[in-house]
Subunit: 260 residues, 2 copies
């Protein structure tokens, strides 16, 4: 009775609407529910569905996409686990807002002694767009001569600086990133602004002794032990999006990691 849905979803141009296939063939290597999830992701990326918006009910979407409610639900469940959507029984399904504190908090792991997130004020030291260096080519999987944004900024809490960050982001992914306002954002809201969906990230943690210039910025002594945070954030499609090297003067703060 049923063959699988074809791949028109994945292959069609981003501007064309969903084409309900009449003959169901599995031309794509992806199962139907993943194809549908990809359309959901695209609608968010393109801005058709905006943060905080209520999207149509699962039965409406199932009708629109010409799939069963069960398949639609599975696609929505995947989108939820990808942090694209939030569902609330009796209310509806909502597009997540990654500029909200709860979603941005995901990328800041420094905590106060009482377990609260450190809420710092940021100061931009420098922003430049330039060609990649060797390390960036490797870490961000870029080609030689490609362009990157490099941002250096300092975080302070109650007027006292505690963290220096060096960011590198492929310029291709962040067109028009120039303003200090943009450069002050966390990666989550910044990515949302340019229609990028974020996936996994990993972090290598070690201890550095403060170099003279860094000690100067952090108003501490040369040689003070700093927590070194070497982090790469990837997109939902597993493309490196940001490389961050941070050096953090902990004092009574700590880095919090949670595993499920």
């Amino acid at each position: 009775m049923h063959n699988y849905q074809d791949a028109q979803l994945l292959d069609q141009s981003p501007d064309e609407p969903w084409q309900a296939p009449s003959a169901r063939r599995r031309l794509s290597s992806h199962p139907l529910y993943l194809q549908v999830r990809n359309v959901i992701a695209q609608r968010i990326t393109s801005g058709e569905w905006k943060p905080r918006m209520t999207i149509p009910s699962e039965s409406e979407l199932a009708r629109e996409f010409n799939v069963s409610v069960g398949t639609m639900r599975k696609a929505l469940d995947v989108a939820v686990s990808d942090r694209l959507l939030t569902r609330r029984q009796g209310r509806g399904t909502f597009v997540n807002d990654h500029s909200s504190t709860e979603h941005a908090a995901r990328y800041s792991n420094i905590r106060n002694p009482e377990d609260s997130h450190v809420r710092g004020e940021v100061t931009i030291v420098s922003i430049i767009e330039t060609s990649v260096n060797e390390t960036e080519v490797i870490r961000l999987r870029m080609r030689p001569k490609e362009r990157v944004h490099r941002i250096r900024r300092v975080w302070a809490s109650q007027g006292k600086p505690y963290m220096l960050e060096d960011l590198a982001m492929p310029a291709r992914l962040f067109p028009g990133l120039v303003s200090p306002e943009d450069a002050s954002l966390h990666i989550a809201p910044l990515a949302q602004k340019v229609g990028l969906l974020l996936g996994r990230h990993d972090e290598r943690i070690s201890i550095d002794k403060a170099a003279p210039d860094i000690a100067d910025v952090l108003k501490t002594d040369t040689g003070t032990p700093l927590l070194r945070l070497d982090r790469i954030v990837y997109s939902l499609q597993d493309v490196p999006v940001e490389w961050r090297l941070a050096q953090c003067l902990l004092e009574d703060r700590y880095y919090f990691a949670q595993y499920r």
Copy 2:
């Protein structure tokens, strides 16, 4: 046609077999698939299903539990995400072995420069069973005067010590934990040995300066910066199972955290 399955699963004694209910009522606050998942967990805990074993097919289990295949599948999916089971298309569903390197690796985050896990040799410094102190009461959610196992051990790589661990575990959860062999295990295989299923864990990371006695054990200088790892591991039912305070001489190693 169908009302919900009742809670006989959750409420029946561990020794009784699954009772297929004839009248389906939702006496439990848990949906059916979670009740079924709990029976799966119990079968593993009790040793009825042993590590690496192939369990019956989903259709067989659905018949046994008197639930639909869809519900059985959902229960199995939850068990997979809880790391109880692994499923392989065409082969079957297997009970995870938490004494295997892949599962034990989940709890060791120290990596070599080439990203490989540090494989150290462990030495037991001391094992005692005693009454809880104030910190343990809080961290392990215990009552005053309850008993804990305290283990101090040192990890070395190529003969050079790099990490000192102080462990505290509720004695109630680890009856008969006395031998140095048991005390040398990672938490995952140790928990499996006593039929405990592990869930989330969290870790607070900061920097300590080596105290004289610790510097002595780690064969370094007093005041050397050490990575301090303050970790609590919880059971699947969210009961604290182990509190670990580790101090780690990193040198060219680092702590690796991955987020999905």
